[in-house]
Amino acid sequence: MSAALPVPPSAATGGASGAPAARGGAARGVSAEPLVEVRGLVKHFPVRGGMLQRTVAQVQAVDGVDLEIHRGETLGLVGESGCGKTTVGRLILRLIDPTAGSIRFDGADVTGLRGAELKPLRRRMQIIFQDPYASLDPRVPIGDSIGDGLRVHAIGTPKEQREKVRRIMDLVGLQPYHARRFPHEFSGGQRQRIGIARALVLEPDLVVCDEPVSALDVSIQAQVLNLLKSLQRELGLTYLFIAHNMGVVEHISDRVAVMYLGRVAEIADRRDLFTDGQHPYTQALLSAIPIPDPELRRRRIILAGDVPSPVAPPPGCRFHPRCPLRAELGNPHVCETTDPPLKPIGGSDHAVACHFRGDAALEQPVT
């Protein structure tokens, strides 16, 4: 693997912190410095209108997200459609520019990199898409699609490139003769394997999986998930796994972050989150997972109403208009006025953004 790849020299200069270069190698293995560290990430998309195309509003797709992704782990990112999880993925990949906040990759601040400066970084982080139909160029044989990264970064001779493509194809379960075929000749599951091969050909450290199985049949989903898991073991990959399906996330993740309307509501180890989810939104999501046993019934928490518009998110806690806990507590005023920060519970990795959950719940007077 290419873990020893040098950090782009320009990457270090963008850092606001004092000694970004020193953090690269020294910390590895000892204090487990995260591969990706996101602080206060904000992305607002302007809504333009009127004759002069003036900005009339801001879609607050991502509004203050803090995340860490540790080396070799899978961080699951769940939430409803439109909660900003895909935007977080694209921001980390630097496919779109953040409005505010910082993104550190392997110890270096990469927030300020532009254009060609990003090229060395691109080699180390890749993406797998949701839609296996739109993610492959229909005019290009899939061998060329898979090897595109090698061409872009001018790695190896054409012969070495072909050999590398063949090895990667073998790794994801494609036959060598597939290389000359076109995308339309493959099934959805096979195409997803092709997309995975394309992402892995550059031997990246981080792979953002943007709902990689949502478009597949349930029977194929398991195959692709297991493939992703075994590739992670073999290649030492780090995944940011974006999904809206709690079952899939439980299957693949080491840690899980729950997003709601551009914010992280709760983040925890998978086991903690699925057995001891604290945030009322997390609990509502968990209660929606079907149990494959007709005898068992779970008390389902049905949330009222729809997700509010990210153009005008509710003041205070973003979840308060739909929060069953708030109703239970008699609509405390603080939910409408103060945005709860993400606070750790008992000094562990488990953190929750709620006035009345976690450690804070004990201190918080019910008004």
Binding site: E80, V152, P183, H184, G247
Partner: protein, 314 residues
């Protein structure tokens, strides 16, 4: 909430995009199933054949004045075909003679060459420039897009022929200048078509994938976006050739494009426009030839559009 559930399947994705290539062989088969396209293809094949074999098919030199060379010849002698009962004493001229005593049939045959050349070259030039403008505008977006497309709007604001007239007036008359004028006038059409398809292609995941791999914007534009945006352009170009032929002919009719003695259909009609009632065949023949040419391209263009668009195929 409803979409957080195990196995929440998305609806089947749209397959039109990827299906394009797979259908390439299918496109030809589909094209041949369209009656209008087949008629268009046959007509076009006939015209191309005539243009290629003009030297063989023509009975006379198209620009040679036959007055005084052949006996019994006057300007605008009516058609004379011996097989159809024309007296053997008169020389044979299938479509008669024009006002200058030249063989109308031979001029018509050689005119095919000129018209097809005009059509293809003009549209090719317009596509070359229009594609670049449209692709850059669509891919760059923002201010670049705004400036380029407003310029295109300015061109479109004038009636095409009027603008072409102005340009020829500025450049000076002549066939090449007229072709340049018609090409300039048709640039906005191709720019718009190209921009529209670039706008849709650039949002697709495989373009994002190329960006994530670190490919440069120019390389992505040339490798991924433009090749996948060409289909609508091909249809537009086929339809555009007919229009270009007609517009250059119109300029010729006004005496601004092809100059005498070039055998060009527009010029031929223009020269004899006062003789509509005394020698109608001199107007009718090039008129019909123009109609057939424009019809051929329009039928083929319509057929291509239907064959390339899966939504329209039954």
């Amino acid at each position: 909430m409803s979409d957080v559930a195990i196995g929440a399947g998305k609806p089947l994705p749209d397959v039109t995009e990827e299906a394009r290539v797979g259908r390439r062989r299918g496109v030809i088969a589909r094209l041949l199933r369209q009656r209008s396209a087949v008629v268009g293809l046959l007509l076009l094949g006939f015209l191309v054949l005539v243009a290629l074999l003009a030297d063989v098919l023509a009975t006379h030199d198209p620009i040679k004045v036959l007055l005084g060379v052949e006996p019994g010849i006057r300007p605008r002698t009516p058609p004379c075909v011996h097989l159809l009962g024309c007296t053997a004493s008169l020389p044979e001229h299938i479509l008669g003679l024009d006002g200058n005593g030249r063989d109308e049939y031979s001029r018509l045959i050689f005119g095919t060459r000129v018209s097809l050349f005009i059509g293809f070259v003009t549209v090719f030039g317009a596509i070359l420039i229009g594609t670049v403008i449209g692709a850059v505008a669509g891919y760059a977006g923002g201010r670049t897009d705004n400036i380029l497309m407003r310029l295109m709007d300015m061109l479109l604001a004038f009636p095409a022929l009027l603008l072409a007239l102005v340009i020829v007036t500025v450049l000076g008359k002549g066939l090449i200048n007229a072709m340049v004028a018609v090409a300039i006038v048709s640039i906005p059409v191709y720019a718009r078509v190209m921009r529209a398809s670039v706008l849709s292609i650039r949002e697709l995941d495989y373009v994002t994938a190329a960006r994530a791999l670190g490919d440069s914007p120019m390389s992505i534009l040339l490798r991924r976006v433009v090749p996948n945006s060409l289909t609508p352009l091909i249809v537009q170009a086929t339809l555009g050739i007919g229009t270009a032929v007609l517009e250059v002919a119109a300029l010729s009719f006004l005496g601004l494009a092809a100059q005498a003695p070039t055998a060009e259909w527009g010029t031929m009609i223009g020269n004899e426009r006062n003789q509509l009632f005394t020698a109608p065949w001199l107007i009718l023949a090039p008129g019909v030839a123009l109609t057939i040419t424009v019809l051929a391209f329009n039928l083929l263009g319509d057929g291509l559009r239907d064959a390339l668009d899966p939504r329209l195929s039954g």
